[in-house]
Symmetry: C2
Subunit: 361 residues, 2 copies
């Protein structure tokens, strides 16, 4: 994937909006969904950006997702929320629930929300940052179709189940942890495969559950055998892979067991015509309910600076905080535009032809 094309952010977003609108997604909802997608590209998380547009479009065209969002609050207390996403676009569901979560935390100190019957929501960090933008702590998580094997197992029963937490910092970008609970995404194994390089031991297992360095064996297991898969964060048992496994299960508990959504093996994948029934989990924490916001943010800055300014390992010149690389990428791309792989650019052109909207990026 060598060739790239630089596209303008606003034009890219407008294009996504027009495609969604053409399929009956209301204007504001098309804007939300497109903003989440483009934000992923801005932050360098291309796997969750406009590269996925065609999949959303296909599901909408086939009426496998609801175009005009419907959200039903199933249960609510002053600090909790259970929402049925009614098979609407995951981004719209998540944006609306997080808005509500933030408002409730503003009144009551904290709010935790769980969501069932939703769809792929893009980058988890987007919703956590909605809270940090408002000077609160934000939490965001989702389950996903299964690609990860439990420790000592060989069946993919867990999604890459990301967890994101965003926290505001004085005079610095927010701390934004946004991590899959697997060591790497499946796309990373595909990169090793294309390069013909061995996969570091402890990233994935073959169809018999054996840790392997062969990208080919891993991909064959995942795509053909529906066995084997990625290892949870930590990798081998010896290096504490059971912790990542525990975190992945925790995400399924918060997103699916608490909400009634499908868990692990039952979550639909994007190729599946049936509703994905993905579950999400969100939280907002009002910092002022604990201590003065300014004090908190200054103290955050002191702590993050003490990490940043500490002595570097031999051969290293910089220590990062979570979200810092993505923040710098975003600043750079807001100035210079977003480089799209030609393959992704072509998939957008294809979407344009398919739904009948103009394409001149």
């Amino acid at each position: 994937m060598s060739k790239e094309r630089i596209v303008d952010i606003l034009e890219l977003k407008e294009f996504c909006i027009s495609a969604f609108s053409k399929l009956g997604v209301p204007k504001e909802e098309a804007e939300i969904t497109s903003d989440v997608l483009v934000r992923a590209d801005l932050r360098g998380i291309e796997s969750h950006g406009v590269a996925r547009l065609s999949r959303y479009i296909r599901r909408l065209k086939l009426n496998q997702m609801r175009a005009a969002a419907k959200l039903t609050v199933v249960k609510e207390t002053p600090s909790t929320l259970l929402v049925d996403g009614e098979n609407s676009l995951g981004q719209v569901v998540s944006y609306r629930v997080m808005e509500k979560c933030i408002a409730k935390a503003q009144s009551n100190g904290t709010c935790l929300a769980t969501v069932k019957n939703s769809n792929h929501f893009g980058i988890a960090g987007y919703y956590a940052m909605m809270a940090s933008d408002k000077n609160m702590m934000g939490i965001s998580s989702t389950n996903a179709w299964p690609l990860v094997v439990p420790t000592f197992g060989r069946e993919p029963l867990l999604g890459t189940n990301p967890i994101s937490v965003a926290v505001p910092v004085a005079r610095q970008p927010p701390f934004v942890l946004d991590m899959a609970t697997s060591v790497v995404p499946i796309g990373k194994i595909e990169v090793y495969n294309r390069r013909g390089e061995p996969v570091p031991l402890g990233m994935a297992v073959d169809g018999k559950g054996r840790p392997t360095t062969s990208a080919k064996d891993i991909l064959r297991a995942v795509y053909d055998l529906k066995k084997g898969g990625l290892m949870p964060l930590g990798g081998l048992e010896e290096t504490a892979g059971y912790k990542g496994y525990g975190l992945a299960v925790l995400v399924d508990i918060l997103c699916a067991i608490l909400s009634g959504a499908s868990y692990g093996p039952n979550v639909g994948n994007p190729q599946d015509p049936k509703p994905s029934d993905i579950g999400h989990f969100f939280g907002a924490v009002d910092i002022e309910s604990f201590r003065p916001l300014n004090e908190f943010k200054e103290y955050m800055g002191k702590m993050t600076d003490s990490l940043r300014n500490s002595e570097k390992a031999e051969g290293q010149s910089r220590i990062y905080l979570a979200g810092e690389k993505e923040h710098e990428m975003e600043e750079e791309r807001r100035k210079n535009g977003i480089p799209l792989y030609y393959k992704v650019y072509e998939s957008l052109a294809e979407v344009a032809r398919d739904v009948g909207v103009e394409f001149n990026l």
Copy 2:
């Protein structure tokens, strides 16, 4: 450490209670603290059990910790709590705060609590399980004196900062995730050292921040140079060690930045005469606020069974859920007593002589 001595659980707890009582810890608080310590031994987490009694006793004798607990609620909303532990025993502070957290979640759906100016609290899982024992979800976390280096760093600036979440399950032991955010504890490096075995690459770095397999180099760096240290969960950057690093920082945010406790490099270690000023974070979530408890617990059981009963990796005969091994160890030890390393047994005899209580375990 070969020799072991089997001791009776109740007698072991009574002994701890008598030692604490002798130093002015009120009866009920001595019972709480002793129960937390013995529970660690019951669950096979010996590093956090009665092996630490002598350290607590020394701090109490030297008046470096408050014997009769004092807790001050600094700020409170219906779903949040900030407590000053006033340098009391960490176990008593944590037990009391978790009790309050559970009560508030019962009334309001959820409660998050943060604590400053506390001390080492033992196993994180104990407090999370207080909530799961009451059919709620429990969260527990603490920061700790620094032993972990940030990704690309060489200074130990983060504790092993554990996170625990406990969740009730129908007809099964609770799901209890209780994990340090480092790959392994420092004690594990000491085991490799004693055995003369190489440390797997990605567990720790030497004084220059270089990943190394030499246990000797790691321990020399940590104890003599006060440089180098453990690596965060995930290990090397290539295998996503930055995720464990992010989780460790998150724990410092929840426990210290939100409460005003000391973070990472400023947390006192047990040898330090100054107050440790450790921070904790607790949470309780009322499941009934989301969905009927029975439904939730049955669904949990279905999910955990689907993991447990899935196909095993070649050469493996069993897939565990978080907390399952510890639960079985606890059942076994409740029946047969707790095996103590002779060195630990001797340290208890020394405590007995030191504070002047009977010792006949």
